[in-house]
């Protein structure tokens, strides 16, 4: 489920800006790190979740305002490379200003593990699952049922038309970064008790979320949902039935197979711009 959130984070930015944001994993890491710091000062979990998500949204807005929208004569490729630079920068800043250690975070629920029909797993998986379900639902509702959400979709479908109808495209892109930062941080903060927090924890999540996007079809949110679930389930199955040391391989194997068979992804958005 966590990959669904990462994949949606990628999609939100990609669909409005056509930029693949390789700092998406770092949004997760920042969410986890900020939560860890706040919890150290005994701030309640709910509040630290909220604060870390808002702070990361603001970081995302800054990235868009000062780096992305100010880059002169930018094309998509140079902006994508820029996001790789940003990702390295964020990791560096955290490694220096916090540290490079892995920090545990206690489970959100009062009990550590649950048993279900003979299987025992961390109670945090329930939290991750619920968070993801709620976020996915809210995000879909926003896009499909609110005027603001439709405007955001309009920008991704036909940017020129949107601006001819008075939509401030730059503002919509900034909003996309903010939403993506918020979703990313919440994902990072809820997965933290399972994965620990560390300055480079975002790398693998980012890459696997990227794989989920590719599998589902970049820019397609249903694709993100399905792609994220496929990668997540395949990973747990391979850990269970083969060996957990091959776990990381599976996501990329699936991605490569999909790229071979259907390069545009399972849910490739049918020529969105026929204009």
């Amino acid at each position: 489920m966590i990959y669904v959130l990462v994949a949606i984070g990628f999609n939100v930015i990609y669909s409005t800006t056509k930029i693949v944001n390789f700092a998406q994993g770092e949004f997760l890491m920042l969410g986890g790190i900020i939560e860890f710091i706040l919890l150290k000062y005994s701030i309640p979990i709910g509040i630290s979740l909220l604060i870390s998500s808002i702070v990361v949204s603001i970081v995302a807005i800054f990235i868009h305002k000062f780096l992305i929208s100010n880059t002169k004569d930018a094309n998509e490729l140079s902006l994508v490379i820029m996001t790789i630079g940003i990702s390295i920068l964020i990791k560096g800043v955290i490694a220096v200003s916090v540290d490079k250690d892995a920090h545990p975070i206690k489970h959100f629920l009062p009990f550590k593990s649950v048993s279900l029909s003979g299987m025992t797993f961390s109670s945090q998986y329930i939290v991750v699952m619920l968070t993801a379900l709620i976020l996915v639902f809210l995000f879909y509702f926003y896009l499909k049922n609110t005027l603001n959400g439709k405007i955001m979709q309009a920008v991704s479908m036909n940017t020129l038309a949107a601006s001819l109808f008075g939509v401030n495209v730059n503002m919509e892109q900034m909003k996309a970064f903010a939403i993506s930062g918020f979703i990313g941080a919440l994902a990072g903060a809820t997965i933290a008790p399972i994965s620990f927090v560390q300055y480079d924890m975002g790398v693998m999540f980012g890459l696997k979320g990227f794989a989920a996007c590719v599998v589902g079809g970049f820019g397609n949110n249903t694709g993100a949902l399905v792609g994220g679930l496929i990668i997540g389930i395949a990973e747990s199955l391979s850990a269970g039935y083969i060996s957990s040391s091959y776990k990381d391989l599976v996501a990329f194997l699936i991605m490569i197979i999909v790229l071979f068979v259907k390069p545009s992804g399972l849910f490739s958005s049918k020529d969105v711009e026929r204009v």
């Binding site: 005027l147 405007i151 479908m157 036909n158 020129l160 001819l164 008075g166 939509v167």
Partner: protein, 236 residues
């Protein structure tokens, strides 16, 4: 109402628009005619700041030269470019909702529905297909939707680029009917077209362009009668 002064546009180093000036007075319908590649689309794109340019542009005496596209249209001008302004994956209704989003936000849903009903009077076909995805409309219907999206914004001025391109004679007449309707409503019109006779009949004044320059300007009626001008610039 719209004053364009000494507008020039360069693509790389090639000049596409060379010191072009045009005026459109309030309530007038003005057309820009010219052969393919004359620079008509370039002129409109430059006015709406879709492409970089040199020169000055005023709307109601306000300098809009450096205003962002989304701010220019907020002043009450609609631009329907030669590319369609529809959102394929959204329904016809949602397409109209988005083009009129400021009306919904500022004046309320009721006002929007009122405008919608008024627009549907001209586009009965779209009314029937409200819930269909815009991408599934026929080419002609998509073109009509683009115009409807502009009309529902209740503009003071309506600018359009070859609205009849690729339309059947019947739909073509429907487009010109809308031009006549806009004139009656007091909406100022600036139209770029290939359909010389019908356009000259529907408009008050005309500019004729050739390779980036305005070659002639005058009353549409006079051009309609002048075979020499039609032969020289408009292919008969």
């Amino acid at each position: 109402m719209l004053r364009v002064k000494n507008l020039s546009v360069y693509y790389d180093k090639a000049i596409a628009l060379d010191n072009v000036s045009i005026d459109v007075e309030e309530g007038e319908a003005v057309c820009v005619l010219g052969a393919n590649g004359a620079g008509k689309t370039t002129l409109l794109n430059a006015i709406f700041n879709v492409i970089p340019k040199k020169g000055k542009i005023f709307f109601n005496d306000i300098d809009i030269t450096d205003l962002a596209t989304h701010k220019i249209v907020k002043m009450g001008i609609v631009y329907v470019p030669d590319k369609r302004t529809i959102f394929n994956e959204l329904s016809v209704y949602e397409n109209l909702e988005i083009s009129a989003w400021e009306i919904i936000k500022n004046k309320g849903k009721k006002h929007f529905v009122k405008n919608l009903d008024a627009v549907f009077e001209h586009f009965t076909n779209l009314e029937e297909k409200q819930s269909l995805k815009a991408g599934y409309l026929s080419g002609g219907e998509q073109q009509m939707l683009s115009i409807a999206q502009g009309l529902i914004r209740a503009p003071k001025m309506f600018v359009m680029d070859e609205p009849t391109a690729g339309l059947s004679p019947k739909l073509m007449n429907a487009v010109f009917d809308i031009v006549y309707f806009m004139k009656k409503q007091g909406i100022t019109v600036l139209i770029v077209e290939q359909n010389v006779n019908k356009t000259l009949m529907a408009t008050d004044r005309a500019y004729i362009m050739e390779v980036g320059k305005i070659k002639e300007s005058g009353n549409s009626k006079d051009f309609l009668q002048s075979d020499s001008i039609k032969k020289a610039y408009l292919g008969g």
